[in-house]
């Protein structure tokens, strides 16, 4: 997102226009205005004195004063100085240029009329000038406001997530008003989250938002959906102005702008704040909608997986269960007839079926757990310990295979969920056991490469069909096995992939040039994923 652009446009907006001027500033500007007024009127008087010296008619003096008033009205802020200049002009004309000179008295009876007309003319001109000036200022202010809004909405368009929106909006507001801004968004339960506080320039100002009173005011504004705080009826003694962020579906959050030393926001500022808040509300609403959409999509996906899983369970479990039921029924019904050897064979098959069932159910449990989002319990684990434990578990099924281990002499400690990574290794070795002929060699190798630890489980069996490789980590994807005479659940490798991905690693499979297959996965050496 383009923060700099927003910042630039905020800089166009001079601080004096939207930021609340302090008392000192106001006194200073009044003094400057008075000095300007006096100076210009003195110049008008000097000009008139010069006119009298070269013998001009006295109507020119009046014109000189009116010119002075006009210039004052243009150079100063507000009506007061123009009117002040008019009064000064009339008085000076009276004082310096009417007989008797240097007194406020007059001999000629028509002078008061002159003074009055002069005063009216001067006042009207100065007022008109001031008004024109004011209008020009306002329209440029409006233009700038439009520009600011445009930049903010452009910035808001580029961000994702509610938090980023409130960050961009909060920063922009803090900058425009040159004050601290508090921004709290509503969570899904319609409670206010912990607010974020943004300050511009002055960091210690943020402290005001920490008080309980301010928190209460913000919550009140959120609950009632109306402005609260300084300048309103509720919580008028708080030191900030709170405006709810209102969207179509209700209040989305609340924004607060600090006002120090009891200064209220001007109407103009409130309007700008409302406009920006509307932009923020729009952005948040958009974001909420897209989140909802995303969630709905995920739900559909999850539902699809679940039904797949159910289908697999019902199919894969029925076969062995039928076998178990048949074998046990045979023994119970024909206990007298069957000889010992047959009974033993039947029982052995029951045991095999049952252990396969347990294995499958473990896998299915694992995959549902992963679907619900794995909460990794990461610890610094020693790689050799994990490999050792994985092998000790799988060894009893590996009597027909040779297992070799190749790990570096140096201890490798990695952040990982030990139980899950152990499961990955077990599944990979189990996979190799299933798909390689008896007597094959399975090799587990670990090494460090750059920022990653690499684990490899390779065998010297027949390798993987090239056509299978792209799908091998998909759920329910199985190839005919060699050893067990029964296909797998098609979940083992899918679980491996989910676990490794959750750790921030990658998993892949390939055929070795010298024959056999290699499964390879990486784990980052450092946390930080």
């Amino acid at each position: 997102m383009n923060k700099r652009q927003i910042n630039n446009s905020m800089d166009i907006l001079g601080k004096e226009e939207y930021s609340n001027p302090t008392k000192q500033d106001r006194v200073r500007s009044a003094i400057i205005n008075v000095i300007v007024t006096l100076g210009i009127m003195t110049l008008a008087t000097l000009l008139s004195v010069y006119f009298r010296y070269i013998g001009f008619h006295e109507s020119n003096f009046i014109m000189a004063y009116i010119l002075g008033v006009l210039i004052v009205a243009k150079q100063t802020d507000g009506y007061i100085y123009g009117i002040l200049a008019s009064v000064i002009g009339v008085s000076s004309f009276n004082f310096f240029f009417t007989e008797p000179y240097y007194t406020f008295a007059t001999y000629r009876p028509d002078y008061p009329v002159t003074f009055l007309i002069m005063l009216i003319v001067a006042s009207i001109t100065s007022t008109l000038t001031a008004k024109a000036k004011q209008e020009a200022r306002l329209s440029s202010l409006r233009e700038k406001r439009t520009q600011v809004l445009y930049e903010i909405s452009k910035g808001l368009l580029k961000v994702r997530s509610i938090n980023q929106i409130s960050e961009v909006g909060g920063m922009a507001l803090a900058k425009i008003f040159n004050c601290s801004v508090i921004m709290a968004t509503a969570n899904s339960l319609n409670n206010l989250n912990e607010p974020f506080i943004y300050t511009y320039d002055n960091h210690d100002r943020a402290a005001i938002f920490k008080s309980f009173q301010e928190r209460r005011a913000a919550a009140e504004s959120f609950e009632t959906g109306s402005p609260v705080g300084i300048g309103t009826e509720k919580y008028a003694d708080s030191s900030a102005y709170y405006l709810p962020i209102r969207g179509q579906s209700g209040t989305l959050g609340v924004v607060g702008v600090s006002c120090f030393a009891g200064k209220l926001l001007t109407d103009e500022q409130v309007r700008l704040l409302e406009a920006v808040t509307t932009q923020i509300a729009l952005a948040m609403e958009r974001e909420r909608l897209s989140e909802k959409q995303q969630k709905a999509k995920l739900d559909v996906e999850r539902e699809r997986l679940r039904s797949n899983l159910l289908r697999a369970i019902s199919h894969d479990l029925r076969t062995p269960l039928t076998g178990i039921l048949g074998s046990t029924a045979t023994i119970l019904d024909n206990d007298e007839v069957l000889d010992k050897k047959v009974k033993r064979e039947l029982l052995q098959s029951v045991q095999e079926e049952a252990s396969w069932l347990i294995h499958s159910v473990e896998n299915m449990l694992n995959i549902t757990r992963i679907d619900e989002g794995i909460a990794l319990k990461k610890n610094m684990e020693a790689v050799e310990e994990i490999i050792a434990e994985a092998i000790s578990r799988i060894k009893k099924f590996a009597s027909n295979h040779i297992i070799e281990i190749d790990i570096p002499a140096d201890l490798i400690l990695l952040p990982m969920d030990g139980i899950l990574i152990e499961q990955v290794l077990i599944n990979l070795v189990d996979n190799a056991l299933k798909y390689t002929p008896h007597g094959a060699c399975i090799r587990i190798k670990t090494q460090i490469e750059g920022e990653k630890a690499i684990f490899e489980v390779s065998d010297n069996g027949n390798g993987i069909q090239e056509a299978d490789i792209p799908f091998i980590f998909d759920r329910f994807y199985t190839a005919p096995t060699i050893n067990m005479g029964r296909r797998g659940t098609g979940l083992g490798l899918a679980i491996c992939k989910s676990i490794v991905t959750a750790h921030g690693g990658e998993i892949s499979a390939c055929n070795n040039p010298s024959g056999g297959a290699t499964f390879r996965f990486t784990l980052p050496l450092k946390e930080g994923y």
């Binding site: 020693a382 310990e385 994990i386 050792a388 092998i391 002499a409 030990g418 139980i419």
Partner: protein, 233 residues
Amino acid sequence: MKNKPLILVVEDEKPIRNFMCVSLEAQGYKCIDTQHGKTVVSLVAAHNPEIIIIDLGLPDIDGIEVIGMVRPLTKAAIIVVSARGHEREKVEALDCGADDYLTKPFSVIELLARIRVALRHSNQGRQPEDPSASVFLMKDLKIDLEKRRVFLADDEIHLTPMEYKLLTLMVKYPGRVLTHKFILEEIWGTFSGNDTQSLRVFMANIRRKIERDPAQPRYILTEVGVGYRLADE
């Protein structure tokens, strides 16, 4: 004739309870069983079993709570049964006073092995100190506890004082799982979750000295997520 050791089985699943009792009795143990965790205290008081096997997933009361109530009453070895993936539960049970654990699904062979280890420990506790016990012997590993020397197939192994301390702690409890917390408290006297990393480093160093292949250890076995176990038998 020697008295048959008495084993109390606390398990709510009838088939599992049945097969445990049948196989235990077939091995010459006496067996009483219950499905209610709440009756355990009175059963222990009445029969004084030598071993209690308890499922942590009982319907009426939390198994860990039962262990907490029973532990002060008896010296019996407590073996907990819990599902795979519930490592935290096992650690909690062990730290509450359980002596060992079995992960479901377990085989009869595993069950009997755990019971033999547990019985050996309770027997050791009763017998007067064997003078030869100052030398620990297992496979090629020989530890002379009196002279503080360690040999592997007659070659002397040089351990640092800390490594020696760790090894002798494990030797005190052969066959039993020791949780990270237990080991850290015994060796360093304190436990703050992050120290497990240094424990792993020490263990790796010991393994490099006494194991031929650290990835297929013969002496110090890892119980991932729980702790360590010194091999037995």
